[in-house]
Amino acid sequence: MSNALHNDYGDQRRKEAMEFEKVTSQESHEPVIENGVERRHALPGLYTLNDFEAFSGIDKQSFINAVGASTIDELLERDKQREQDGFPRKIRVGRLFKPGRGANDSVVIVPSTVEEKLIHDSVSDPTQEGQAGGSGQGDEGEVIGEQPIRPEQQGDGNGAGQGNGSGHEMESSAYDLGRVLTQQFALPNLKDRGTKRALTRFIYDITDKNRGFGQVLDKKATLRKVIETNIGLERISDMATIDTSEFLVSPKDKIYRVLSREKDYESQAMVFFLRDYSGSMAGKCTELVVAQHVLIYSWLLYQYSKRVETRFIVHDTEAREVPDFYTYYNSKVAGGTQVSTGYEFINEIVEKENLAQEYNIFVFQGTDGDDWDAVGEKAIPELKKILSYASRVGITIAEHSYSAGQKTEVQKYLEDSGVLSEFSDYLRMDVINENADESRLIEGIKQLLSTESVT
């Protein structure tokens, strides 16, 4: 959490943090020092106490490293989007501050938000600062305690340690880009398929079984148990003619579902980026392909952040997977071209990790159209294999300007083999000139993602 806060736009955050501090300095969750004793709430009220707090007495040091459902970054991005949609921003970044001895104050940065509702304001008697319940000795009018008006806040707003921003920069600017693009696209053919678990998340479900009682009766399991019991009691003599009305049903035979914690099975998508980094790709072709993939990637990151996983594959005559977009983007070109190796590699990954069942799979491929396998002898069967499970394959061919007017090898074998029409819902090809500008690229993406069938 702290890493994310102290990188490229950490400064802006810090400003926000300080502003927020001013605004919320009256809020009760800020610890207060009273007679040297820290108290979490200035005053206990009817609804501030719950069973948790009332029963807890002993402080137990333990460290929590839980991963939240969303990070602060994601939340802030969402907040930026609000502005675009015409609603005011709602998340403020604030600090929690625990005073310590000397300079040992600890500070934690946390987001905060208020759910606005129409509620009563408490100022009906303006001459009073407030009133509360009390108990114990003292005559009416007697002062029973004092509380200093907030001690001076110290520190300049940067709390937790400095993080490094490398590797993150790419993503944070991609967010902004994604935001711009997001209104223009949507993933096509997204099916309710996903059962891939994200390990850091849990959901709660009613799946655990419990005998005797529970939330929902599991009829099948119950019946099975009832039969078991009756076999045990020798009440079933002839398996062929079972009279269910003669069954003895013990309360313990009833199997119910009860609340349980499950790993997350959210429906999600896997996106493969595949690009040719052979020698012929040098120069504008590569720029164009990666630029387009940056756009797609940015948008995916933004719109589908948690539900989309991305894999990056580069190929020349052999394919290999690279760990992140940064490497994918910056890999130097060299070597010959064998498009089929890329396809093959994807098929291999999908098969090995059994992705087809659990993900909506998308493949975006960028190439200059050169292929040593000029008729697609190997490439077409592999491509067909991909198309058997993929929700969409988008192929971008960046033509060299010197070959303008001629169809490239890849384009030619794609068209000749008839896959484009055979899998018209799942395969899109976009041919662009290497001198194309950004708006053309966005047009291209729209075409790659479009759901209208191409004739």
Partner: protein, 545 residues
Amino acid sequence: MELVDQKTKRIMEGCKERAYDAGLRFGDETLEYIVTNRDLIELTPKYMIPTLYDYWVHDVECLKEKGRYELYPNNPYETVINTRPAISFYNDNNPDWMNVMIFYHVLGHIDFFRCNQYFRNTWDFDFTGQALSDKRTIAKLRSEKGRWVDYVIEFSRSIDNLVGYHSELSRIDNSGVSSATPLDYYFDIFLQSVKKIPMTEYIKEVERYNACVRQDSTIAEQVFFSDVHKKYPEFSSLYEKANISRNERNLDIMQYVLRHSENLNRGKNQWMKSVIELVRKTSLFFQPQIRTKIMNEGWASYWHEKLFLSDDRILGHEVDFARLHAGIASMPRVGLNPYALGIRIFQYIEELADKGKLSQDFQRISSIRERERYDKAEGKGIEKIFDVRNNMCDYLFIDTFVDQDFVTKHDLFVAGKRLNSNKMVYEYYVKSRNAGDYCKMLQDSLYHPPFITVDPERNANNTLYLYHHFEGKPLVAEFISNVMLGLEFLWDGPVQLETSEVERGESRSDGRNLRKGEDGNSRELNWQRVLYTMKNRNLSRKILT
């Protein structure tokens, strides 16, 4: 998260037997889970319902709680949710004696959930299951509509405290007789308000009806109304119209928007309705809990004390118990503690009823000494507190039983807080020891959402007109804009809100700054009606005369 082990479960079952014998009712089955602190932090923003729908505000809360936990680690003990069967959560490191105490506390809560009438809208279904299906609906919609689902959740939640909880309760009570019969309408409204016939004729009509009944009670109404229809051909249509508007009047804002928004009833926006409906249902589910906080905690504390001390299994832990119990149920010097207050009131009621003090005879006695000595030894204490547990909510509980004897007995007072600008401190002082003041202070701190309804008669030109029935407290001004913004989105038309605010004499931005009057005398406030209008995402304010 897992079920407690067999040994702990056996302890729980032992507690159940004893609690059952004492009169608590909690259903035979309960589920107990061991949870970690992390689970709890994640569950807290979801009101401890594990299956509640995902929403980004929960994530914000969660991150905030984690931050707080880094600074102030603590180990919470238990919580219980109102489901079928009831579910409760525990830490895994409690010693046995503590578990016994906690189990009794939990059983007290479960008993309260099941028996208190204010919870009757939650009795017929299991909320975890309900919430789970809602959560799936939301997840599905989110994959189709993206962030717009979250906007709809947000905007619905901004008005979910205004749900018609009480009309929901009365609907349950009167299911089947939701509308007036033609007979009621004819005599109560039609003749009196619509036709305004003189009293003699009215009595004649009543007599005519009675005559019909005497002749043949089975077809009396039929015979009677055949004449009515002849005489007033417009009667049936007026009756139907009246019935509709009667139902309309009981709609809360969310229901009204659901039913009448053109925007939501358009085909492509239908999905929003299910989101709003679901937020509304969720809110209704939690309404009774917040309206019975003092009673619920008091009841649970009363029983954990009583049952623990009579439990033979844990002899020897009385001192441990006393320490923990005192931490829970002691009155703070300044501030309120629902556990402490609740348990004291229940004990007070028990004592009153045991001594027969809840009677007119006792009320008539004015001598303090005699009042103290009064004891009819009626022994109806237990019976009485069970009765109170069945039928009251916090408001009635306080209003009925917090009297001067109670306030004096426990040394209670209203604490005031004022600024001492010389010393730069806030001073707390004993403001009043009068039961009336104390009671009023309690009631002011009870949960009470503003009473705001839609006024259909002022909904001109697709405008949604909200009317705040003023009860002496203004609305929080800074929230109005965003709530109305969201409502405008859902309604898809201008939204107006009529409310009351303090007249702004000096250059103040809102009512808050009025506090500057430091002279100590309460100043007369001048209230005025104002009309907020949200149109095209712009808020304007107009003073009504």
